[in-house]
């Protein structure tokens, strides 16, 4: 659905999404990298389990919630990617211990 611009010459780096290697670019937010990955990155909401994707991309809507390096409910649109980052698509509520 999303395609990177040909003008984008930023260096690439690798992150992991549910254990699978995904290529991102330096300066991407986690949400941008997920949307650009071409994978099904829909999370499930905490109460009804409805499928959602990042929406506002500016920290307001909380529809980008994702588990990053073992910490749940992070706002993916506010976190820049880092090489080797472990991302898990969050299905439902955060687990209390992570």
């Amino acid at each position: 659905m999303f395609r990177r611009s040909d003008q984008d010459r930023r260096p690439s780096l690798q992150i992991f999404v549910d254990g699978v290697t995904v290529e991102a670019r330096e300066g991407d937010t986690v949400s941008a990298a997920l949307l650009a990955s071409g994978r099904d990155v829909r999370r499930e909401t905490a109460v009804s389990g409805a499928p959602r994707l990042p929406y506002c991309m500016m920290g307001v809507c909380f529809d980008c919630l994702v588990t990053i390096d073992g910490v749940g409910n992070r706002q993916g649109c506010l976190v820049p990617v880092a090489a080797g980052m472990q991302i898990e698509i969050q299905k439902g509520k955060r687990e209390i211990g992570r």
Partner: protein
């Protein structure tokens, strides 16, 4: 607006709504006169517990009244579900009051002993459990937890949905709800009450004052007495998390939708506009000492509200001697007692007399007109 009602209920919070719903259920024509959105609503400081343990020290009748409410809650929840389709998520599998350190454990043990000596263990079944026993039921407690009291009658409910269910029920019963109607005067003539509001007069054969702390000023208009000593409470709420807390606590509970509520602060302060962060900090600190995993959760909301508190902590139910047909009802535990208000108080108001064997102990005559010492029965 100009019709005469069987009953006007003054106050549209949880207590007024429960009584009005109960009256509508019995086929009465009912008007609920409420204030607007900026009213100092006591209901908003509720903690949603349906709670029995430790209630009634100093007044055994309050224990009985509370146990009755707890036992009637499943019927209330079922009737609301049938009528409105709303599930209020009542959970009554027992609740804890946890203690941190040996001193708190000793103090709680003494309280449990005093309660047993007063009402008898048989009808109360509150018991102290050691930390190792608590851990079997609440596996995630931290090392500072010394134990706690457990009562199998305790539980909790989704109080917001309960409130919504009552109001949805109003429509089905034909109960008229009028917001923005603070009552400034009440008169009685020709066997009928007239209530003055900024948007006109409401007339009714009977009235029930259920206006929380405002009962203190409304009650004397019809020869009643409701001495109050309101307190402020703060609540802290976390983001939603997977279920980890199978039983509610006096100070922490996890809602059916996953948020964790931390509450039970009590201050004399009566300004409900700003939080005191020093108090939220103590609440949050105690919560994470009880459940260390909580430290990782984000707090998403916190607020404060003024809670209803009759002067001695126990409920007040009275019918006026000078103005028969005028009733007053106030209590601290509007969630726990909602079933009694919907079923018992509504029935008694309909019948025209409060029943001494059930609620005689709660007459404001116990204050002797002067107001007793504040020994809080909560």
């Amino acid at each position: 607006m100009h019709r005469d009602y069987d009953v006007a209920v003054v106050g549209g919070g949880l207590l007024g709504s429960a009584i009005a719903w109960g009256l509508g259920r019995l086929g009465k024509s009912v008007a609920v006169l409420d204030e607007g959105d900026i009213a100092k609503r006591a209901s908003r400081a509720n903690f949603a517990l349906v709670w029995v343990q430790s209630k009634g020290l100093g007044m055994p009748a309050y224990t009985g009244w509370t146990v009755r409410a707890s036992q009637a809650w499943p019927s209330l929840a079922a009737e609301l579900k049938d009528q409105t389709g709303l599930d209020v998520c009542l959970q009554q599998n027992g609740g804890f009051h946890l203690t941190l350190g040996e001193d708190e454990y000793e103090q709680r043990t003494q309280l449990v002993t005093r309660m047993h000596n007063q009402v008898g263990a048989a009808d109360y079944r509150m018991e102290m459990l050691k930390a190792s026993e608590v851990k079997r039921m609440l596996p995630l407690i931290g090392p500072e937890v010394s134990g706690g009291s457990f009562c199998p009658f305790d539980g909790h409910v989704n109080s917001l949905r309960t409130f919504r269910a009552f109001h949805t029920g109003f429509k089905a019963f034909g109960v008229d709800y009028f917001p923005e109607r603070p009552v400034s005067a009440i008169t009685k003539s020709g066997g009928e009450f007239s209530l003055t509001t900024p948007q006109g007069e409401i007339r009714a054969h009977k009235i029930v004052l259920a206006a929380g702390n405002a009962n203190q000023t409304l009650a004397p208009m019809v020869g009643l007495f409701a001495p109050m000593g309101p307190t402020r409470g703060q609540i802290v709420v976390t983001e939603r998390t997977m279920p980890f807390l199978p039983h509610p606590l006096t100070t922490i509970r996890q809602t059916d939708e996953g948020t964790v509520m931390i509450g039970d602060s009590k201050e004399d302060e009566l300004d409900d506009r700003a939080l005191k962060h020093s108090i939220s900090a103590v609440m949050a600190d105690r919560a994470q000492r009880m459940f260390p995993h909580l430290a990782r959760l984000n707090v998403v909301r916190s607020w404060t509200g003024i809670r209803v508190m009759p002067q001695d902590g126990f409920p007040i139910y009275d019918q006026s001697e000078t103005h028969p047909g005028a009733y007053v009802a106030c209590c601290h535990s509007g969630v726990t007692l909602a079933s009694n208000h919907a079923f018992e108080i509504a029935r008694m108001v309909t019948a025209g007399a409060l029943e001494p064997e059930l609620v005689g102990a709660f007459s404001a005559r116990r204050f002797g007109g002067e107001g007793a010492a504040n020994n809080s029965g909560y």
